[in-house]
């Protein structure tokens, strides 16, 4: 098992096994497109390396050329060559078909779940102190206005939640309000689904625009009650004193 071509193939296979199976043991799985990019880079590097001189180029391309021209081939090797020559056009044909065949799947949607808020909502602090009374009032308002969809348990599973697409946010999930600042929630509650930017598909969200129904004070207290009830804390940028 030597020769530049064999080394390249082994390198590519090894790289693929590493990226696909070994790396995910330590980090999140890589998307297929990224793996493809890395493999293409590896192949390109090998090609550049082996085409530096005429000698190594011959070594690299020689086996491919001998196989394709059928030089000195008999028996199994000849059959395999014919097989490859038949299979390659068929694969191209199949590929053409799958690309052109009409799809029954609607266009892919790529919804941004937590888009950037408008400038006026960045960095606002909750003007109400986190007293037990305020938290309790917030929870009461949450029960009245939010829980039908977001759930009495803050889990996005309220009785009215079933038919929504996208589903109501689950506040007990550490990926939702725990990742956000209070000012972000203030924006989302105040402006609702229709306040979202285009990448968040505002035309699909059923979140009401609560500013037309609730005073700001209630919204800030609802946020307090929401964090408390869901057992999460808002994200902060500075160290707390």
């Amino acid at each position: 098992m030597k020769g530049p071509l064999a080394k390249t193939v082994i390198l590519l296979v090894g790289m693929y096994v590493f990226l696909k199976f070994i790396l995910p043991l330590f980090t999140a799985p890589l998307p297929a497109s990224l793996i493809f990019l890395y493999l293409a880079l590896t192949l390109a590097s090998a090609m550049i390396f082996y085409t530096m001189s005429g000698g190594s180029l011959d070594e690299f391309m020689g086996p491919i050329g001998r196989f394709l021209t059928g030089t000195g081939q008999t028996g199994i090797a000849g059959t395999a060559r014919i097989l490859v020559f038949v299979l390659f056009p068929l694969l191209v044909g199949w590929q053409t078909y799958t690309r052109l065949a009409p799809s029954d799947m609607p266009p892919a949607e790529n919804r941004t779940i937590h888009p950037a808020p408008p400038g006026e909502f960045v960095g606002l602090a909750n003007p109400y102190p986190r007293t037990p009374e305020n938290v309790m009032m917030g929870k009461g308002l949450y029960a009245a206005f939010c829980s039908p969809c977001h759930g009495a348990n803050f889990d996005g599973k309220g009785p009215a939640a079933v038919g929504f697409n996208p589903p109501p946010a689950n506040f007990s999930d550490p990926g939702t309000i725990a990742q956000l600042q209070e000012s972000y929630l203030f924006w989302r509650i105040k402006k609702g689904g229709v306040g979202l930017p285009v990448e968040a598909m505002p035309w699909k969200s059923a979140m009401p625009r609560w500013e037309v129904e609730l005073p700001d004070e209630w919204i800030w207290k609802i946020i307090m009650g929401e964090y408390d009830g869901a057992g999460q804390s808002p994200r902060t940028w500075e160290e707390e004193e």
């Binding site: 064999a6 497109s33 590929q95 029954d104 229709v194 505002p202 035309w203």
Partner: protein
């Protein structure tokens, strides 16, 4: 035949198959795992007439329905917290000229104020599913609503772009027929695919359009209609597409692809051979 030759053969095989295989496999990530629920209504292409006024026609039962869950309308007041219609089965067909959509849903009682509606985005501008209400950062478009009510016995073709703008159109070109049987409503809406009216959704076979649904249970409870106006069961936006006629030109391209690949092989081998000879 020596080991070297076998090795060469294997290498050639591996190279060519991986090259083509990789381009197939890596070209796109697989779609994320979804639930069993539908995302789109397919208007099946059929020859001849469609059962535009017959919700119980046998032709409907041959079609695979899409099913969508419904939620109470909580987006704006007056809200409702619980609704009668929890999900809807949707079937559709077209013949290149006319289209029909059948809505099938459970409702234990047949009431005069029972109603159903289909909403579409009009044109290319995205519109909010709540009557195309104004969005703060996006300029939205208009919606076209096909509304059927039992006591009216017909469809009304409507337009809206924001709250309080819902109105019946001047050009009425939608018809609807409902039939209730043993706790199930079947309502069929029909219309030409194209109408030439700028306020209507235009359906072109092969193109995806956005669609949503709404239902009202008109049962009288304590002297009042249970669900009316904004108190209704709604769906979010889903997709609808009229099936395009089969396109045989695809096979021409497939043959062309095969011929090009074979020609490539031929010239490649010839070039290598000539290179070796010289």
């Amino acid at each position: 035949m020596g080991y070297k030759q076998i090795f060469n053969v294997l290498l050639g095989l591996v190279l060519i198959v991986t090259a083509v295989g990789a381009s197939c496999a890596f070209a796109s990530d697989p779609p994320p795992e979804g639930g069993a629920e539908s995302v789109a209504v397919r208007l099946y292409l059929t020859d001849g007439s469609i059962p535009a006024n017959d919700p119980n026609a046998a032709a409907w039962d041959a079609l695979q329905p899409a099913e969508f869950k419904l939620a109470p309308q909580v987006h704006w007041p007056d809200r409702i917290q619980e609704v009668t219609v929890k999900s809807v089965k949707v079937r559709g067909m077209h013949n290149g000229q006319e289209m029909a959509i059948l809505l099938e849903y459970a409702d234990q009682s047949e009431d005069a104020a029972d109603a159903a509606a289909i909403e579409f985005m009009v044109g290319d501008k995205m519109a909010h599913f709540a009557h195309g209400q104004e969005m703060l950062q996006v300029e939205g478009g208009e919606v076209n609503i096909w509304y059927w009510k039992k006591e009216q016995g017909k469809a009304t073709d409507m337009s809206a772009k924001g709250f309080k703008t819902l109105r019946a159109q001047e050009n009425q070109n939608v018809s609807a027929t409902g039939a209730w049987q043993e706790g199930t409503w079947r309502v069929v809406f029909s219309r030409p695919l194209q109408t030439g009216d700028e306020h209507d959704v235009q359906i072109t076979p092969g193109e995806w359009r956005n669609v949503a649904f709404a239902f009202w249970d008109g049962e009288i409870v304590d002297g009042a209609v249970k669900e009316r106006g904004s108190q209704k069961a709604v769906s979010s936006w889903w997709y609808v597409r009229a099936e395009p006629p089969p396109d045989n030109s695809i096979y021409g391209y497939v043959v062309l692809g095969i011929a090009l690949a074979a020609g490539f092989e031929f010239f490649l081998v010839r070039k290598i051979r000539r290179g070796n000879e010289s």
